[in-house]
C-alpha cells in the first residue's frame, strides 16, 4: 500500500492510498472520489510524462509518497 500525493497546483491536493498493482485508472477513480471531479476528466502527469490508464503504478515505478501533477482535460 502506498500513498501518492496528487496536486493540481491550483488548490487541490490529495493523498491517495492505493496498492502498487493498482492501475492509473483506479488511481484516477480514487482521486475523483476525493476531489469530486469525473475520473475520466483527470490527467496525471509528471513533467511531460502523461500516465496512461491501463498501466499499473508499479510499472510506472510510482513509489510511496510520490507527487503527481493533476490536470484536467
Amino acid at each position: 500500500m502506498i500513498e501518492v500525493v496528487c496536486n493540481d497546483h491550483l488548490g487541490k491536493k490529495v493523498h491517495i492510498k492505493c496498492n502498487t498493482d493498482d492501475t492509473i485508472g483506479d488511481l484516477k477513480k480514487l482521486i475523483a472520489a476525493q476531489t469530486g471531479t469525473l475520473w475520466n476528466k483527470i490527467i496525471l502527469k509528471k513533467w511531460y510524462t502523461i500516465f496512461k490508464d491501463h498501466v499499473s503504478l508499479g510499472d510506472y515505478e510510482i513509489h510511496d509518497g510520490m507527487n503527481l501533477e493533476l490536470y484536467y482535460q
Binding site: M1, E3, V5, N7, G11, K12, K13, V14, H15, I16, K17, C18, N19, T20, D22, D26, K29, L30, A33, Q34, T35, G36, H63, D64, G65, N67
Partner: protein
C-alpha cells in the same frame, strides 16, 4: 512564512488534541519539505494550506472540521520531526480557535470536496464501492528505519551471492552427469571385452549357461503350451503357425501373373526382385508384380519426359504412329489427355508356365512389323531434280534422226496488173472525155472546135487522147471486164461486187449524158447556126468567156464558187454603177440578141429543165444602166449660168457635192425576220421610287452666269473637344486616334494635358503685367497711399540713413 509556521503549529496542536486513533501515517511532512517554495502549504501543510485557504475563503465549519480530522490522522503518525514538534504548538493555538465547529464533523466527511487524504478504512470502503480490491496493508513500511533512527540494512555481499550461484550450478551439473552415466552405463563399449571370447574355458562356461537358459525357456514354453492346451487355445496357435509355413510357394505358382514392367527393362543375367503391387483392400483384381526400383525409375523417366516440354500437337507428323500391319493408328483428338482421363496403362507382360517370360512373342511381332514397313510404299514422290541440259547416253539411244519429207510448194497466183496501155484499145468511148485543158473546160464536147474538125477526126482524136479522167478510167476498166466476159481474176471478185452498184449508177448517168449530148448535137445540126456559133466562139475564145457561156448553153452543170456565192447574195442594185462592167455590157449588147434567139431556140426545142434556166440578170442590169451610162458619158456638161439646178447638176456630176445618198449594198433580209423586231431595254430601277422622280428636275439647266468668277475658298477647321482650333499636327493626331481606335498612352496624354494647361495659363496671363500681378498691386497700393510712388523698404517707416543698422 512565520505566520504559516504558526498556523502549522496550531494545527498540530489541534491535531494532537483531537487525535483520532486511525493511523493515517503519512510521510507528508518530510515529503512536503521538498516543496520549499510552497512553504505555506508544505509540511503537512497540504492540509494546513487547505485549511488556511478554507479560512480565507470562510467556508463552512464542517469542512474545516473534516479537514482537521484528516490532519489529525496525518499528524498522529508523525514521528519526531523538528517541524512537527514546532508545529503542534502553532496548530494547537489555531485549533483552539476553531475547535468546536469542526470536531463534530471530523471523521464523517471524507468524500467531500477538498479532502486531502483518507484513512485506510475509508479508502477500503471507497475501493469496495469502485470495485477494486482492498489495500494491501503489509508493505506499508518499506523503510526499516527513519531518518532519525536509521537501521542498518542488511549487507548485500556480492561475493557470497556469486558463490552461492556457482554452487547451485555445480550441483545441477553433477546431477545431470550422474543421470547420464546411469543411462550409458548399461551399453557395452568397444573397449570392453567379454572374457569368454579369448578364453575357451570362459566360452565354454558361457555356452553352457546359454544352453541352460534355453532349456529353461523350453520348459517354460512347454508348460505354457500345456496350459494352453488345457484351455483349448493350442489349436488356434498351431493354425497360425501352420499358415505361415504354407505361404512359402514355388515358381509354378507364378504362372499367369502379370508383371507391370516392360519386358525390355529386364536384362539378362540380373536378378530383380518383384513384389506385389499395392492395391486396395476391396479390389478384387488379380495381383501384379512390380519392382520398386524399376517403378521409381520409370516415374523419373516420365517426369523427365514431361519436363522436356515436347510439343503436344504435331500437326504434320506422319510417320510416328505406324502400328501393326503398317496401318495408321487412328489418332484421337487430344490424345495427350488420355492418360489423365482414362488412367495409366503401363507396359506389362504375363508370366508363362513355370514363371518364365520369354519375350519371344514380342520379338516376333516386331519382326513382322519391320517387314511390313519395308513393304509399304511411301506416297512421297521423288523430289524435284534439276533437269540436265544434255541428254544422257540412255536417252541418246532413243533419239533418232527423222527424214525430211519433200513438201509441194504451191505457186502463188500472180495478180493482174492493169496498166494504162491495156486500157487504150479497150476504150469504146461514146462519151466525151476530152479533159485536155482547163481552158477548154471539162467535159467539153469534143464536137466543134473547128470546121476542119470532122467527126471522124474527133473520133480519131479520141484514141490518142491520153489523159482520161479517173472516173472514166475506172468505168472503162470495169466495163471492159464485164464485156470481156469477166476474165477470171482470182483477186478481184470482190472488186466486181463492190462496183456493181457503181456500175449501174454510172450507166444511168451515161445514158442521161448521151441523151443530152445527142440532143445538143441535133440542135446544132442546123448549118447556119452552127457556123455562126463557131465564129462567135472563135472570136470570143481569146476573151475567155466561154467558160461562162458554154456551160449555160450546153446545159452541163458547172459549179463555180463565185457564181454560187453571187447567187446567194441576191440582187445587187448597185451592180454596174461604178462603171466597171462596161465590157460585159458591150458584149451583152451584141450578144443579147443571139442569146435570146439561142435561148428561144433552145426553148423551142422543148428542152425542159435540162440546164439551169438562165437568169436574166444581165438584161435587168443593162436596162437599168442604160440611161445613166448614156447620159453621163456622152452628154455635154450643163452650162452653169443656166441656173442653179444646172450648176448643181454639174457639181453632182463632177462629184463635188456630197449630197448623193450612197447606197450601200444591202443584204436582203432573210425570210424569217427577227421574232422581236421592236424591243427596248427597260431600266426598272428608275421607275419605282417616286421620290427620286419628284426631286429630279427635268427642265432646262444652265450655269449661273453671275457666279462665273466664283472660286470657293475652302477652309477646313478642326476642333478638339474643348473647342480649340487644332494645328494640322494635332488634327492629324486626332484623326489617327479616331482611325486606329486608341488614343495616346499615359505619358503622352499627361504631356498633352500639361501643355494645354500651360496654354490656358498663358492665355490667362495678362500681357501687361507680371504673373503675380505686381503692377496691379502696386497701383492699388498707390491708391491706398494716395501717393504716386511706393516705398519699397521693409517697414516703410523711414528711409533715412539713420535707420541703417548693423
Amino acid at each position: 512564512m512565520g505566520s504559516s509556521k504558526k498556523h502549522r503549529g496550531e494545527k498540530e496542536a489541534a491535531g494532537t488534541t483531537a487525535a483520532a486513533s486511525t493511523g493515517g501515517a503519512t510521510e507528508q511532512p518530510p515529503r512536503h519539505r521538498e516543496h520549499k517554495k510552497h512553504k505555506h502549504r508544505s509540511g503537512g501543510g497540504g492540509s494546513s494550506g487547505g485549511e488556511r485557504r478554507k479560512r480565507s475563503r470562510e467556508r463552512g465549519g464542517e469542512r474545516g472540521g473534516g479537514r482537521r480530522g484528516a490532519e489529525a490522522e496525518a499528524r498522529s503518525g508523525a514521528h519526531g520531526r523538528e517541524r512537527s514538534q514546532a508545529e503542534p504548538s502553532e496548530r494547537r493555538v489555531k485549533r483552539e480557535k476553531r475547535d468546536d465547529g469542526y470536531e463534530a464533523a471530523a471523521s464523517s466527511k471524507t468524500s467531500s470536496g477538498d479532502a486531502s487524504s483518507l484513512s485506510i478504512e475509508e479508502t477500503n470502503k471507497l475501493r469496495a464501492k469502485l470495485g477494486l480490491k482492498p489495500l494491501e496493508v503489509n508493505a506499508v513500511k518499506k523503510e526499516a528505519g527513519t531518518k532519525e533512527e536509521p537501521v542498518a540494512a542488511d549487507v548485500i555481499n556480492p561475493m557470497a551471492l556469486r558463490q552461492r550461484e556457482e554452487l547451485r550450478e555445480k550441483l545441477a551439473a553433477a546431477k545431470e552427469k550422474r543421470l547420464l552415466n546411469q543411462k550409458l552405463g548399461k551399453i557395452k563399449t568397444l573397449g570392453e571385452d567379454d572374457p569368454w571370447l579369448d578364453d575357451t574355458a570362459a566360452w565354454i562356461e558361457r555356452s553352457r549357461q546359454l544352453q541352460k537358459e534355453k532349456d529353461l525357456a523350453e520348459k517354460r514354453a512347454k508348460l505354457l503350451e500345456e496350459m494352453d492346451q488345457e484351455f483349448g487355445v493350442s489349436t488356434l496357435v498351431e493354425e497360425e503357425f501352420g499358415q505361415r509355413r504354407q505361404d512359402l510357394y514355388s515358381a509354378r505358382d507364378l504362372q499367369g501373373l502379370t508383371v507391370e514392367h516392360a519386358i525390355d527393362s529386364f536384362r539378362e543375367g540380373e536378378t530383380v526382385i518383384l513384389t506385389l503391387k499395392d492395391k486396395g483392400v476391396l479390389q478384387e483384381e488379380e495381383d501384379v508384380l512390380v519392382n520398386v526400383n524399376l517403378v521409381d525409375k520409370e516415374r523419373a523417366e516420365k517426369n523427365v519426359e514431361l519436363r522436356k516440354k515436347k510439343p503436344d500437337y504435331l500437326p504434320y507428323a506422319e510417320d510416328e504412329s505406324l502400328d501393326d500391319l503398317a496401318q495408321q493408328k487412328p489418332r484421337s483428338i487430344l490424345s495427350k489427355y488420355d492418360e489423365e482421363l482414362e488412367g495409366e496403362r503401363p507396359h506389362s507382360f504375363r508370366l508363362e508356365q513355370g514363371g518364365t517370360a520369354d519375350g519371344l512373342r514380342e520379338r516376333e511381332l516386331e519382326e513382322i512389323r519391320a517387314k511390313l514397313r519395308l513393304q509399304a510404299q511411301s506416297l512421297s514422290t521423288a523430289g524435284p531434280r534439276l533437269a540436265s541440259e544434255y541428254l544422257t547416253p540412255e536417252e541418246m539411244v532413243t533419239f533418232k534422226k527423222t527424214k525430211r519429207r519433200v513438201k509441194k510448194i504451191r505457186k502463188k497466183e500472180k495478180e493482174v496488173v492493169v496498166r494504162a496501155d491495156d486500157l487504150l484499145p479497150l476504150g469504146d468511148q461514146t462519151q466525151d472525155g476530152d479533159f485536155g485543158s482547163r481552158l477548154r473546160g471539162r467535159g467539153r464536147r469534143r464536137v466543134p472546135e473547128a470546121d476542119e474538125e470532122a467527126p471522124e477526126e474527133e473520133e480519131k482524136e479520141q484514141a490518142p487522147r491520153p489523159p482520161q479522167s479517173d472516173d472514166t478510167r475506172v468505168e472503162n476498166m470495169d466495163i471492159s471486164d464485164e464485156e470481156e466476159g469477166g476474165a477470171p481474176q482470182a483477186g478481184s471478185p470482190e472488186v466486181l461486187e463492190e462496183d456493181e452498184a457503181e456500175l449501174e449508177l454510172q450507166k444511168q448517168l451515161e445514158k442521161g449524158r448521151r441523151l443530152r449530148q445527142l440532143q445538143q448535137l441535133q440542135q446544132l445540126r442546123d448549118s447556119g447556126e452552127k457556123v455562126v456559133e463557131i465564129v462567135k466562139k472563135l472570136e470570143s475564145r481569146p476573151r475567155g468567156w466561154e467558160e461562162d457561156e458554154d456551160p449555160e448553153r450546153k446545159g452541163a452543170i458547172v459549179f463555180n464558187a463565185t457564181s454560187e456565192f453571187c447567187r446567194t447574195l441576191g440582187e445587187i442594185p448597185t451592180y454596174g454603177l461604178a462603171g466597171n462592167r462596161e465590157e460585159q455590157e458591150e458584149l451583152m449588147d451584141f450578144e443579147r440578141d443571139e442569146e435570146r434567139s439561142a435561148n428561144g431556140g433552145s426553148e423551142s426545142d422543148g428542152e425542159e429543165n435540162i440546164g439551169w434556166s438562165t437568169v436574166n440578170l444581165d438584161e435587168e442590169k443593162q436596162q437599168q444602166d442604160f440611161s445613166a451610162s448614156s447620159t453621163t458619158i456622152l452628154d455635154e456638161e450643163p452650162i452653169v449660168n443656166r441656173g442653179l439646178a444646172a450648176a448643181l447638176l454639174l457639181c453632182q456630176n463632177k462629184g463635188l457635192l456630197e449630197t448623193t445618198v450612197q447606197k450601200v449594198a444591202r443584204v436582203k433580209a432573210p425570210n424569217k425576220s427577227l421574232p422581236s423586231a421592236v424591243y427596248c431595254i427597260e431600266d426598272k430601277m428608275a421607275i419605282d421610287d417616286k421620290y427620286s422622280r419628284r426631286e429630279e428636275y427635268r427642265g432646262f439647266t444652265q450655269d449661273f452666269k453671275e457666279k462665273d468668277g466664283y472660286k470657293p475658298d475652302v477652309k477646313i477647321e478642326y476642333v478638339d473637344e474643348t473647342g480649340r482650333k487644332l494645328t494640322p499636327k494635332e488634327a492629324f493626331r486626332q484623326l489617327s486616334h479616331r482611325f486606329h481606335g486608341k488614343g495616346s498612352g499615359k505619358m503622352k496624354t499627361e504631356r498633352r494635358m500639361k501643355k494645354l494647361d500651360e496654354e490656358a495659363l498663358l492665355k490667362k496671363m495678362s500681357s501687361s503685367d507680371t504673373p503675380l500681378g505686381t503692377v496691379a498691386l502696386l497701383q492699388e497700393k498707390q491708391k491706398a497711399q494716395k501717393t504716386p510712388y511706393i516705398v519699397l523698404s521693409g517697414s516703410g517707416k523711414s528711409m533715412n540713413a539713420n535707420t541703417i543698422t548693423k
